[in-house]
């Protein structure tokens, strides 16, 4: 997946130009019409919102908006879920992402921990979906 490291720029590497600023806005607008494969993040946010009132999701925005805004940087316990409710979260995700329901059950003992960061859980969903689409 990743092994991120930071480096200093080498000679000859292209630096973005002021023209790129205008191009970047065009790219954002193009993305609004881009049909992307689901990565599980939307489904995870919806599953959370169905179990706790501390999370709300606005599905009418693109991309969807959550309250709290940095939802995926929080833990499940931080939005009011305990270990008893993590099983229900997994059941809801199995309905929203039926292609990977087997992966969710097979790894339940690892996934059903409310101290997980929501973003890490979302990363698992994305990778599981990629494996399923392979």
């Amino acid at each position: 997946m990743k092994s991120t490291k930071r480096t200093q720029p080498k000679r000859g590497s292209r630096k973005p130009t002021p023209q790129d600023a205008q191009d970047a806005l065009t790219l954002l607008d193009r993305a609004a019409r881009h049909r992307a494969a689901p990565d599980g993040a939307l489904e995870l946010a919806v599953a959370l919102a169905s179990l706790t009132r501390l999370v709300t999701v606005d599905l009418r925005q693109k991309p969807f908006r959550t309250e709290p805004a940095d939802l995926f940087d929080l833990t499940f316990a931080g939005v009011g879920l305990n270990d008893g409710q993590m099983g229900f979260l997994r059941e809801q995700l199995k309905r929203l992402l039926p292609a990977i329901s087997g992966d969710l059950d097979a790894n339940s003992q690892v996934l059903d921990q409310p101290n997980h960061r929501i973003g890490d859980y979302a990363q698992f969903l994305k990778v599981a979906l990629l494996l399923n689409n392979k």
Partner: protein, 399 residues
């Protein structure tokens, strides 16, 4: 004309100012890069150190390379903010990466770059599962609740202990092991109860029709999905559970023999409800044990009960009181067969008010005021006591 000392001093000061300005820009620079070889359409996820303004796109370039080769620039076709992740940006590029390329790099306008190794999805899955499974031991425990109490009774200083430990089985789905101990040091304060065992839990969601409708509406009909989700959020119950397990009970003093029991129950789990309090978010959740049985060689019990928890969490990290919890637990057992002379209804109620003042990465420390009333198996000794003591808990507590 400036002297040499003043000239060099001015140059050094200018260099320092430039360096500080560069470091300030790096504070909002790239922090991480995630890329999956088989993602369709091809894209990479960039994480920045600060949240991005809506509809903003920082300037950067992408390039890929073999293990030791030169960087080949990638044509960026689109960029997209990600819901719930204000520090992240998804970048789409024109074509899949060449199979022999194993590295991806993103460089910002300031010239700072981050690199990522391109792994296969199977390697990525193993890596994320390893990361998820690497929680500290105290966070792996589903719940760790340990309290020591000190109080006064009949003119004496007395102590008591209350331990609740639940841990998932690492290999079997929905299977957990538990250990619960309640002891006191004086008559009228000593439930003399310990139990240990394993239970399997199956969860069943309520409102299945609405949950299924959300699944079909989610991708193509956002307004309909939003209406369904808003309606689901008004529901008080998330689902129901079926528990089946085995346990041994004892009096924690070694005077009585251990009792082996089969324990089964059916209950309802609430959603988490928001509690509106000024300055501190709070939430409420509860569980109702609608019916259960405990059966052994000489024991036949029916039981019913309920748990409720009110949690108030401070927003500020420096708040003197980090967290307040009020937890209520009640179980009523009806003994169909006499046990040590006890028969009929045997209720147990425990109310805890907990004030946490210290937190580590995995544990909380504070004070607990506890009221215990009723009796617990196997001895059913009457308890009516109020304790004040210290409490240590894992950062998340189970039921």
């Amino acid at each position: 004309m400036l002297s040499n000392a003043r000239l060099w001093g001015t140059l050094c000061l200018a260099a320092l100012i430039v360096c500080l300005r560069c470091r300030a820009e790096d504070l909002t620079a790239l922090r991480a890069l995630q890329v999956y070889a088989t993602a369709q359409p091809p894209h990479a996820d960039l994480t920045f150190t600060e949240p991005l303004a809506p509809n903003s796109a920082p300037l950067f370039t992408l390039a890929s390379a073999t293990a030791q080769g030169e960087w080949n620039p990638l044509g960026i076709t689109a960029m997209q903010g990600l819901g719930g992740r204000p520090r992240m940006l998804r970048v789409y590029y024109a074509e899949p990466l060449p199979a022999e390329h194993t590295r991806l790099r993103a460089c910002t306008e300031s010239g700072a770059c981050v690199e990522a190794r391109i792994d296969s999805p199977s390697d990525a899955a193993a890596a994320i599962l390893k990361k998820l499974g690497a929680l500290p031991a105290t966070q792996q425990d589903k719940s760790l609740l340990a309290s020591l109490f000190f109080g006064r009774a009949a003119g004496l200083n007395v102590g008591a202990a209350d331990l609740n430990l639940v841990r998932s089985d690492p290999g079997a789905k929905d299977l957990s092991y538990f250990l619960r101990l309640k002891r006191g040091a004086a008559s009228g304060m000593d439930p003399r109860h310990v139990e240990a065992g394993a239970h399997w839990r199956r969860n069943f969601l309520l409102n299945s029709d609405r949950r299924a409708a959300i699944a079909t509406a989610l991708r193509g009909r956002p307004a309909e999905a939003q209406a369904l989700l808003d309606e689901l959020q008004t529901k008080w119950w998330a689902g129901h559970t079926l528990d089946i397990g085995v346990k041994v009970e004892g009096d924690a003093s070694g005077q009585q023999q251990w009792i082996g029991l089969v324990d089964a129950g059916w209950g309802l789990q609430s959603t988490t409800r928001r509690v509106a309090l000024p300055g501190a978010p709070g939430w409420l959740r509860f569980r109702w044990l609608a019916g259960g049985v405990e059966a052994g060689r000489d024991q036949a019990r029916l039981k019913m009960g309920a748990d409720a928890a009110l949690v108030i969490q401070a927003r500020e990290e420096t708040a003197p009181i980090r967290r307040f919890e009020f937890v209520a637990h009640s179980t009523a057992r009806w003994l169909a067969r006499p046990e040590l002379g006890a028969r009929g209804l045997r209720p147990w109620t425990q109310l805890d008010a907990k004030l946490f003042v210290l937190e580590s990465a995995s544990l909380r420390y504070g004070l607990r005021l506890s009221l215990q009333h009723g009796s617990l198996p196997p001895l059913y000794e009457r308890v009516n006591s109020i304790h004040l003591g210290f409490v240590v808990e894992s950062r998340d507590t189970g039921e």
